[in-house]
């Protein structure tokens, strides 16, 4: 039985710090991704194995997507966008493990992701345009748009967070409800649909993050 995703349950406490289950699940995802990456990349060679070819295909596709959105060297944004994509995908698909709730079904995780995108956009925007240029971008096309641009800067990241949270949480919620009402195998189609939704949401989040950062880097 899945708990209410709107309620954050505590896993354990370290003194005054309470560690919730999404954090623990995130650690698991981090461990899987970290160990998996180490295992997959420890014997890279010029004649790639099948696994290495898949990794190179992922990285090449990521670079081509970044290059199609932001001109210049894609390596600047590869780690952030790739990490967001892989983490959200693994986090969303972690619900396939019985008893595990995806961390992205909790608002704190999505907020952390959106906050990182926001900070990254601000940082790369200031680095690319300078502080004055970045601030001047809020006055485009004219100064009247400054409030709206400021609100947009917040709301689009907020919507980024809410979109991911809503989609993943609703999927988990629906599966939990159906599992509570019907038999053990009935939620399987919904879980498959949840996988698809999780993959799409990971792609959407990464793509929107890329677009937001790209718009901050190249305000023209």
């Amino acid at each position: 039985m899945i708990d209410n995703p709107m309620v954050l349950t505590s896993a354990f406490s370290l003194g005054p710090l309470t560690v919730s289950w999404p954090v623990v699940t995130t650690w698991g995802v981090m461990a899987v991704l970290g160990v998996g990456s180490w295992l997959a990349t420890r014997r890279l060679s010029l004649r790639p194995s099948r696994a290495q070819a898949v990794l190179e295909l992922v990285v090449s596709t990521l670079d081509s997507e970044i290059s199609a959105t932001i001109p210049g060297d894609p390596a600047r944004f590869r780690t952030l966008i790739g990490t967001l994509l892989l983490f959200i995908l693994c986090a969303n698909w972690s619900s396939l493990i019985p008893g595990v709730e995806p961390p992205t079904a909790h608002l704190e995780t999505d907020a952390a992701l959106a906050l990182i995108v926001f900070v990254a956009g601000v940082g790369w925007g200031i680095r690319a345009q300078g502080l004055g240029g970045w601030l001047a971008a809020f006055a485009r096309p004219n100064w009247v748009m400054i409030p709206l641009n400021l609100v947009e800067q917040v709301t689009r990241h907020f919507s980024l967070m809410i979109r991911l949270f809503g989609n993943v949480m609703s999927g988990v919620f629906v599966v939990g409800v159906v599992l509570g009402l019907a038999g053990l195998l009935v939620p399987i189609p919904l879980m498959a649909l949840d996988m698809l939704t999780g993959a799409i949401q990971a792609y959407i989040f990464a793509t929107l993050a890329l677009v937001f950062i790209g718009s901050a880097v190249d305000a023209e």
Partner: protein, 240 residues
């Protein structure tokens, strides 16, 4: 629903750590191997391009050398042909010169042989003439009276019938190179009186010397010319 700021903070830290982990263990190594392969590929392509350029240069060089070889071959062949033609012409000229020398030597030898043969023939003719003359002169009388004596002996030596036919023939004539004076003719032919003839006299320088008696029935040749002719015929028979 409540919002846990501690979880937000922990998730922020977790994601930042995950960024570092994936950057170090995933994206950087994979991007590095892709870049390295690209570098190796570029180097291989460059090496292949260099090799292709070198191969093309080598091909052009080989073609040039082949062309030069063909040209040199043609030149050598032409020179050899010219030299062979010159050598053939020199051989022909030498052969012609040698043949001319041989022909000249042959001609000279023939002329020498001819000269030698002519000299030998002349020598033989001289010897023969000498022999003939010696024999003829040895048998000749010293004067016309001697020839009359020899004519009388010849008539005596003739058979009776032949002598009679001769002597009784028409136009019995005595021929001599130079006619003796008429006053001496009767006394000169006195040895012939016993044959009872009264011949006419005739002159014939071809007799050289001597006295022939001729008639319509025959003749007794009694002259140097006749003797010379007889001796020459005899010598001719001897030589044959």
């Amino acid at each position: 629903m409540n919002f846990d700021w501690a979880t937000l903070a922990l998730q922020l830290v977790n994601i930042l750590i995950l960024l570092a982990i994936l950057k170090h263990f995933l994206f950087r190594p994979v991007a590095a191997i892709i870049a390295r392969r690209q570098t190796e590929t570029d180097a291989a392509l460059k090496a292949a391009e260099t090799a292709r350029t070198e191969a093309e240069a080598a091909t052009r060089k080989a073609e040039a050398e082949e062309q030069a070889t063909a040209t040199a071959r043609a030149r050598v062949l032409a020179e050899a042909q010219t030299e062979a033609e010159a050598a053939r012409q020199a051989l022909i000229d030498a052969a012609r010169t040698e043949a001319a020398k041989i022909v000249a030597a042959g001609e000279a030898a023939r002329q020498a042989d001819d000269a030698r043969a002519s000299a030998q023939a002349l020598e033989r003719a001289r010897d023969l003439a000498g022999t003939i003359a010696a024999r003829a002169l040895a048998a000749q009388p010293h004067d016309l009276a001697g020839y009359v004596e020899r004519l009388a002996k010849a008539l005596d030596a003739l058979p009776e019938a032949e002598r009679a036919a001769l002597l009784e023939g028409d136009t019995l004539r005595l021929t001599t190179p130079v006619l003796p004076p008429e006053a001496e003719r009767d006394s000169l032919i006195a040895p012939l009186a016993r044959f009872g003839i009264a011949p006419l006299w005739a002159e014939d320088a071809t007799l050289i010397a001597g006295l022939d008696l001729t008639s319509s029935s025959g003749a007794v040749r009694n002259s140097l010319a006749h003797d010379l002719d007889l001796i020459a015929r005899a010598l001719g028979h001897e030589r044959n």
